[in-house]
Symmetry: C2
Subunit: 346 residues, 2 copies
Amino acid sequence: MEAVPQKTTIRDVARAAGVGVGTISRVLNSSSQVSRETRARVLKAIRRLGFRPNAQARRILRRRSETVCFLLSNRDFLHPFHARILQGVESYASGMKQHVLFAALHYSPRIPAEKIDLPHVLQEHGLIDGVILAGTIYPNVLRRIESIHMPYVALSNNVVGMEGKNQFDQVGFDDFSATFEVTRYLIGEGHKEIVFAADIYFPWFQRRFDGYRQAMRENKLKPVLVSARKAQSFVDFGQKVAQRILSRQPRPTAVVAGNDEIAYGLWLSLRRHAVKVPDEISLVGFDDREEAMLMDPPLSTIRVHKEEIGQTCMKMLLERLHNPNMAFSQRILPTEFVIRGTVRHL
Amino acid sequence: MEAVPQKTTIRDVARAAGVGVGTISRVLNSSSQVSRETRARVLKAIRRLGFRPNAQARRILRRRSETVCFLLSNRDFLHPFHARILQGVESYASGMKQHVLFAALHYSPRIPAEKIDLPHVLQEHGLIDGVILAGTIYPNVLRRIESIHMPYVALSNNVVGMEGKNQFDQVGFDDFSATFEVTRYLIGEGHKEIVFAADIYFPWFQRRFDGYRQAMRENKLKPVLVSARKAQSFVDFGQKVAQRILSRQPRPTAVVAGNDEIAYGLWLSLRRHAVKVPDEISLVGFDDREEAMLMDPPLSTIRVHKEEIGQTCMKMLLERLHNPNMAFSQRILPTEFVIRGTVRHL
DNA sequence: GATGACTGTGGAACTGGTTCCAAACCTAAT
DNA sequence: ATTAGGTTTGGAACCAGTTCCACAGTCATC
């Protein structure tokens, strides 16, 4: 029972149990070809010696590391959004006896693919079986990862500059439909002057804007995009944009914000101008981060099922590993409109 | 240059370069015993064959996986605080050519150590060299990890139920001094009726309370702890506790909150009671999470250098690995009082 | 010219598992 | 009793690296 400080090998166990090394291996991998008694004897010896098999040795033969890399690209810090995705990846992985390695990478979108200096774990061979790409993903890093023949799955919402190209596995959620639904809801609540607040330079905001615009047009309403320059952050963007919204004639009765942070900035600024939410202006966000629920009133927003996205990434990567030649697939997970306290019925 | 899909081994390279396998190994490990010309020839062959060494094979011999596990215990999700620490761990690790595996674990503090079902990565042998413990850490999990002879470093602030025991490596920050300094600062600003808001069941809040109390006593002021029962969350706790603070006679002029979330809840509630911060009540938090800066007015709080803590954890773990018999050490990193807009001079 | 010190190199032996083949063993049918 | 079919089992060969020992070559010294 007392664990001997390492170095018990399969051969020690074989000797102790009076069987061959092959038998130990068969017991460890529960490949049924072992008699009841022998198995029992081997298990007893394993326990007695405190034997723990060395996974490295197995991996050489299996040509699998049972490990995937969660690669966060071009982010200064592990944003709660990505942290939740990582968690989803880990939860699915652990159920499948797979491991998750965390790595970060910074690169310029303009650097040639072959010049990208990948993390050490990707430079060596055999350490990981595949990669899950999070953070902001530009085409060059995809090329780079393909150049080392490493299977990967990307978070499609964060891929920039590859619109419509589907030559890789991706998982994401439906930006367009989410804002489309939400805008229809606002219209259903009697709102007509609805503006959209975000910087559509980012493709995800563009898609969210498109959904909003579609709903507006279908109802013969004029879509309006409000934006600001030189914002320090999304919250700052929201604060800057508030001015423009309030000065519009007629004054908007509702705002669809590109994400929760913009909505928060907006809310701060509106409050400072003594404009009541939702009494005077209704507000919806996007993402449903923790803090949305804690605003006052709590923010109505679009929930993105981050854990589920992470799980699906992991699942898809495993499928790819088991079936390297299958066609590329893209999975779009639904979002959910969470009604809280920032939308008023007119 | 074109990468052959794997399976080039060191022997292929040896043949291609017309040298022995040992020489390839020597070139790879830059152990200087190779002549200029041979090294050049080998490097050329490596490049031509697109050879990437298999790290698994090396690891068997080295008896090192060059990987550590970041183990998050008993947390429902990867809280931003821990995400920052993970990031610090990763940044230091990548500089040292080490890898970081992310794993989560849930266990009861009351379950016997040997019954704790460790993540798969810890059950096998050779996958990781050591563990960094984050999340809430109870003594039984330390015993469990010791039982498999796995070196570890713990985030000391999150260890519960081992007060004063120092039989393991730990990194943390100084709860006591932080609130001590902050309380002295408030007193210096003319405050006398200062209360502390947190549930001191948690040892870290107890330590923060102790720092606060010490400063109060040194100035002949009466320390007051306000608390609430059955709070759903820290924010909720802050909201619940606001009532009690406002009903005190004389009314407190400043509150030291156990953390930023409590401070935020407090702030929400005060705002609803039309009590102005900092005009009527000053407020300081603890942690300096992202959102503190975004409150209105921005929250004065105690900054914890999370990345640095993560880096130090990783550094200490590597020291332990290189020197298994060194005495256990505990490193306490300083905090920093960040003055923003929620404290008023009386 | 012999001796010694040193550098550079080849390759066998090794790490700790898995895999596969052949042999041993056990039934049951001919 | 012999043969055929199946199940167990031992152990050599293997995976892809590292390590170490022996040997070759070079140069300086005696």
